[in-house]
Each structure stands twice: as C-alpha cells, then as structure tokens.
C-alpha cells in the first residue's frame, strides 16, 4: 500500500514536471561517482530555472 502511494505520488509529480532529486542522486552515484552532486535546494533551483528559459515546455 505504501509502495503504491509512493508510486502514485511519483507519477503525479512527474506529470506536472516537478524535479526528481532522488533520481538525480541515483544517476550521479552510478554515472559520476567521483563528482559531488548538487544539494537538493540547488538542484531544485537549477531545474526550475531551466523550465522557463526556452520554448518547448508549454503550449497555447
């Protein structure tokens, strides 16, 4: 039940385009183990800024 709730939560977040920090950490640990990942706050800030700086995320 908990797992189901968590996956629904994850899906809803992904659909509205909320940043996925855990996924980013997993990627950094796997692909770039030598590099220190961004903090959660820095990651969220970077993602939100990227969302509104080019066309392609929103339509009429």
């Amino acid at each position: 039940m908990r797992r189901l709730l968590a996956s629904v939560r994850g899906a809803l977040r992904a659909i509205v385009g909320a940043p996925d920090y855990r996924r980013y950490l997993a990627h950094m640990a796997r692909a770039h183990p030598g590099i220190a990942p961004l903090s959660r706050a820095a990651y969220v800030r970077e993602r939100e800024a990227a969302r509104y700086d080019r066309p392609g995320t929103r339509c009429c």
Binding site: A14, G17, A31, A50, Y52, D53, R54, R58, C59, C60
Partner: protein, 678 residues
C-alpha cells in the same frame, strides 16, 4: 483466424463512426444529441491511431524498441531522464493542452457545429497528430534537438533563423490574445476579478512554503493551494455581495489590462520559485482535473446541440469572427486540429524523456487525439447553449449595443430568438450584472460548463437563485480558464524575455546575460511592451479585438505548423522515404492554402470588417475619434500578417530546393551524405 476477426471489429468501428458523422451532417431542424459527435470523434481517433499512426511508426520511421533513445544515451538526471511512457504521456498532454483548444472551437461555433467538428477531426488525424508524431520521431533520432535547430540542420540556416523569429513573433501575438480573453472574461466582474487576483498571493504563499517551510513537497503544497483556490471562489462571491467593496474590484478593460501587464512583467523578472513554479503545479492539476470532469459531465449529460449544424454565418457575415467558413474555420481552430506550437513541445522536453522509441506513437499521435477530443468537448459545451445566448455573449458591443433589449433585437436580426429577460436572468443566475459582449470565448464556455456541471450535480432549485449553484460553477469555470490562460501568459512572457535576451546578446553580449538585472528588466519591458501594445489595441477596438487578434494568432500558429511540416517532409526524404512524403506534404499544402488565403484576405479584403487595410481606410475616411490610432493598429496587424506570409514563402522556397536535390539523388548512403554536407 484472429486477424480477420480483428479486421471485422475495425470495420464495425468504421461503420459506427461513419453513421454518426452521417447523422450529424444530414440532421436538420431540431436539436441533435452530443452523443453523435462524441461517437464520431472517438471512432475517427481510434481508426486514425490504429492504422495511420502505425503506418508512420513502421513504414516511415521504423520505430524500434531496441534502438537507444536520447534519454537513455544522455541520461543526466536533469533533462534527459528515461521515464515510464504513461507518465510521459501525461506530461506531454499537460504541456500541449492549453487554453487554445477551449477558446478556438467556442469561437468557431458561430458557423454551426458541423464545420468546426469536421475540421477538428480531419485536421487532427491527418494533420496535427501527424505533425506532432513526425517531429517527435525526428527529434528522437537527433538527440532531442529543437524545431529551430532541426530547421537549420535539415533545411538550412535561413529556415532556422526564420523559425526562431517566427516563434518569437507568435509568442507576442499569443500572449496578447490570451490576455485579451482574460480581460473580456473579468471586465466589470468583481467576483471573477477578486478570485483571480487571489490566485497570485496563493501562488506566492506556496512558493515560500516550497522554498523554506517544506522544500520540494510539491503535492502537499498543491493540495493546500487547491483548498485556498476554493476559498478564493467564495471570497470573490462575498466581495461581489458587498456594494462598497465590489466597486473597488469592478474594473474596466483598460485597468484590467494594466494589471495583467504588470503581473506578467513581475512574473518575468521575479525568481521562478516564488511565482511561476508554484502556479504552474497548481494549474496543471486544475487543468487535468477540470478537463476530466468536463468529459465525464458531458458523457453523463449528453446535452443536445442547440446550435444548427450550419448557420447563415458561413457566408462571412458572422459577428464573432469575420470571414467565410473557409478558410476562417481552419484559422479560428488551430489547437485541437493542428497547432504549430506542439512541434516545440515535441522537440522540447518530451523527446528527452522517452525510454523506448515505440512510445513515441501513443505520445506523439495519441496525446494529440486526446487534445482534439478536448476541443470537441469545448465545441459541445458552446453548441449546447441556446444560440441566441451564445451570440449575445460572443458578439461585440459595436453590433449588440449595450442593453439586453438592443442585444435581443440584434440577435433576432440574425435569425435567433432570445428575450431580453432571458439574458438578464441568465446573467443574474451566474452572478454577473451582464454577460453581453464578453467576447473571447471564455465566458460562453464557462456558461456551457456551468450548465453541464450544475446539470450533473446540482438541484434545479439551486440554479434559479442569484449567486446559487450555477453562479458558483460559472465562476469556478472562469477561475479555471483564467488560471489556465495566465499560466500560459506568464510562462510565455518569461520565455519570450529569454529569447529576446538571446537575440540581443548577439548584438551586445551583456544584454544576453540572464543574471544581469538591467538586461533582464530591459528585455522584459520590451517584450511586455510589445504584446501590451497589441492588447491595448484589442481592448480599445469597438469590434472587440478578438475579431482581429485571434485570426492573427491562428495564421501565425499555422505558419509554425507549416515550418514543422516542412522540416518533417525533409526528414522523411532524407531517410530515403520520399514515397511517403505525402504524409506531411498534404497537410503542408493544405495549411499553405489556408494560411495564405486567410492572410491575404485579412490584409487586402475590401470588406472593412475583414481586411485590415480596408478598415484603416474606412476609419480615416469617416473621421471617427482616434482614427489615426485605429489606422496605425490596422496597418500594424496587416504587417504582422504579411510577415507571416513572407516567412511561409521563405520556408517553402528553402525546403523545395532541398527536396529537389534529395529527389534527384535517390537514397544511397554516400550520396545522401553528400547532399547533407552541402
């Protein structure tokens, strides 16, 4: 054994769809049930998806689950993230479905339900869905490159630059026309104004909450936001009931425009986390929720379509949008049939999220069919209104006059019956003093939606009371639409500012620095000022502004679609699949005819209601007040339309040169590379 059975099943679907379309087309006289329109739509999408999208997926692109997608190849935990296909579907749908598919069909209802419905269905399965799908596949095979970059790579630098400038130009017109729709929905409506104004502090509160109190708890914050939004709805009603307070929030069009311009400027310069991001999350949930609710409501209620199949206004005398049914129904309905803007999404975030190539089919083609269905729902909501009421809400004050009596008289002159008391009663039932000439589509759609929701949930006794059930639903619908419109408007302003900075940075590098406040403020002001000019022109136009700005937006949007289809054709030919080039060439040719003829009519028609230049001449000759200003605006609009036509021409000539080269050098690895290199 199973294959013939399946084929038989599809034959049944085809027959049901054909029968439903026949009923819609041949029905005359009394009302016809929305069930026929829904059936025709679903059958059309199902067949288009099953057969046509499959042809594109297998014969043209050969989508292959074993092929590595950009999301997998370049996974970075940021943009490139392989994602479950249903989540990408939801994300893509939330990105493409804006206010466009709601407003366009509502305006096009003036021609009757049939022209709009036919264009939405055919335009989607043979045009819009094809465009989205082909561009998504093309971008998927090119590391998720953007439309502008693909135009430059595949066609040439001139086409690439034209595409970039076109996108910027369309953003300006889009934002202006959306702002105008908001103004027309909220003017002289304290309830609506207060409700929408409250959404701004709600967003700020959520921004602070997400930043400092509970970082990154998006769902929790959104849930709080939804509760506060409901509170804002009741707060708006409370204010509207206090005469002393209400007068402060009863704003005219110019005051509302000034507030919206100030808001968009603030959204462009303030940090994203404070305003844009929290609003966006909230609006995405509201959007998906309301669209679902509308679909369920219409399916339960199956309202009768009271609008005739075809109205006399197909001859070009319509009060909502000037011009004959062809080409103007195809200009009025862009989103929902074919929208160039989608090509930006299909070459933006979406291709960077696909985990497997075959997912592109449900997302590229399927999501567009779903958006098209939203357009059909909006058409149903608009056509379920009494035609007299529809025209009283959507016709400009210049034609209706300002009283219920004059409006009823004008509507009777067009051949539709509505009594003045019906109009005032309806206005009171939805909690407004007047619904006349609220052009732009949002209010008439809100009345339609309110009747659907109230019809499903409310008790009839509630509706009669002023400020009762119907009023709450109406203002809920207005809040939803305005939230929706403003979210596109503020994000569009910010993106426009970035694009402007990008261009300005090429002239003087510091202007391109996105962290340098003087450049940020200058470019924001420049972008806001440009669309503000069009908005000002719209609100001061006695014919309502929507009449001139919406077609301009439609032409510009179709221009972008033409660019996307030209890119798609080039991509298909470069793959050595020139024999399938008709898949994108046919809709391209159609759009060139539609946008070309509509553009020429808007510029050169001698009818002052239709042609910008003729209108300028008429106003100058009649020496009306502010004639010089009106003529300037008309000529500005004519210039914009001309620029769009020139851009189409440039893209066509550039593409044709590449196509002829590709045609002469039939597919073989070496020669294809040689063509690509020069």
């Amino acid at each position: 054994m199973r294959a013939p059975l399946r084929l038989l099943g599809w034959c049944v679907v085809a027959c049901i769809g054909a029968a439903a379309i026949a009923v819609l087309a041949l029905h005359r006289g009394e009302t016809v049930s929305a069930a026929w329109l829904l059936t025709a739509a679903v059958a059309t999408y199902a067949i288009g998806y099953r057969f046509y999208s499959r042809l594109i997926a297998t014969r043209i692109f050969g989508l292959d689950a074993a092929r590595v997608t950009p999301a997998v190849a370049h996974e970075d935990g940021r943009d490139y993230v392989p994602t479950n296909r249903w989540i990408v579907f939801g994300h893509h749908f939330a990105a493409i479905a804006g206010p466009g598919p709601l407003v366009g069909p509502t305006l096009a209802a003036q021609f009757g339900y049939l022209p709009g419905a036919i264009w939405i269905l055919i335009g989607c399965v043979l045009g819009g869905a094809v465009q989205d799908f082909v561009i998504l596949c093309a971008s998927l095979r090119r590391d998720g490159r953007s439309l502008g970059a693909m135009a430059a790579d595949e066609i040439g630098p001139v086409a690439g630059t034209t595409a970039l400038v076109a996108v910027l130009g369309i953003m300006i017109i889009l934002v202006a026309v959306l702002a105008l729709v908001v103004v027309n929905a909220l003017k002289a409506s304290p309830w609506g104004t207060v409700t929408l104004a409250l959404t701004v502090p709600i967003a700020l509160l959520l921004g602070v909450y997400l930043r400092f109190l509970r970082p990154d708890r998006v769902l929790e914050a959104t849930a709080i936001g939804l509760v506060l939004l409901a509170g804002a709805l009741f707060a708006g009603r409370w204010v509207a009931e206090q005469p002393a307070l209400a007068s402060h929030f009863t704003l005219g069009p110019l005051a509302l425009s000034a507030w919206i311009i100030a808001y968009a400027f603030a959204a462009s310069v303030l940090p994203v986390w404070l305003l844009l991001a929290p609003r966006d999350y909230l609006s995405a949930f509201v959007k998906i929720g309301v669209v679902l609710a509308l679909a369920i409501g219409i399916v339960i209620l199956l309202p009768p379509l009271r609008m005739p199949a075809i109205t006399p206004f197909v001859n070009g005398t319509g009060p909502v949008i000037a011009g004959k049914v062809f080409p103007f129904v195809c200009i009025t309905i862009a989103c929902g049939a074919i929208s160039g803007f989608h090509a930006l999404i299909a070459s933006g975030t979406t291709p960077k999220m696909l985990a497997h190539e075959p997912d592109a089919r449900p997302i590229g083609y399927g999501a567009m069919c779903l958006e098209s269905l939203v357009a059909i729902l909006a058409l149903i909501a608009a056509c379920s209104l009494t035609p007299g009421v529809y025209f009283a809400i959507n016709a400009p004050a210049g034609l209706l006059g300002t009283t219920a009596e004059s409006a009823a008289h004008a509507v009777a002159g067009w051949g539709f019956q509505v009594s003045p008391s019906d109009l005032t009663t309806l206005a009171h039932q939805v909690g407004e003093t007047s619904l006349l000439s609220r052009t732009g589509g949002a209010p008439s759609l809100a009345v339609g939606m309110a009747q659907v929701f109230a019809g499903v949930l409310g008790r009839p006794a509630d509706h009669a009371a002023a400020g009762g059930g119907l009023a709450l639903w109406y203002h809920f619908a207005i809040m939803f639409e305005a939230l929706f419109l403003l979210t596109t408007l503020d994000a569009g302003t910010r993106v426009g500012r970035f694009m402007l900075q990008d261009l300005a940075g090429r002239v003087w590098a510091p202007l391109g620095r996105v962290g340098w406040y003087p450049a940020v403020i200058l470019c924001s002001a420049l972008f806001v000022g440009t669309w503000g000019l069009f908005l000002y022109q719209g609100v001061t136009d006695p014919l309502g502004g929507v009449n001139s700005l919406w077609p301009l937006f439609g032409i510009a949007n179709q221009l972008l679609a033409a660019i996307a289809l030209a890119v798609g054709t080039t991509v298909i030919m470069r793959m050595g699949k020139a024999r399938y080039a008709a898949v994108t060439l046919v809709p391209l040719a159609w759009l060139v005819v539609v946008a070309g003829s509509a553009g020429c009519l808007k510029i050169f028609s001698s009818d002052p209601r239709l042609g910008f230049l003729a209108h300028a001449r008429q106003q100058l000759a009649a020496h009306v007040a502010h004639a010089g200003e009106i003529a300037f605006n008309d000529r500005l609009d004519a210039t914009v339309a001309a620029a769009a036509l020139v851009a189409v021409l440039v893209i066509l000539v550039e593409s044709a040169r590449v196509w002829i080269r590709l045609w002469r050098a039939p597919y073989s690895g070496d020669r294809l590379l040689a063509v690509a290199a020069d």
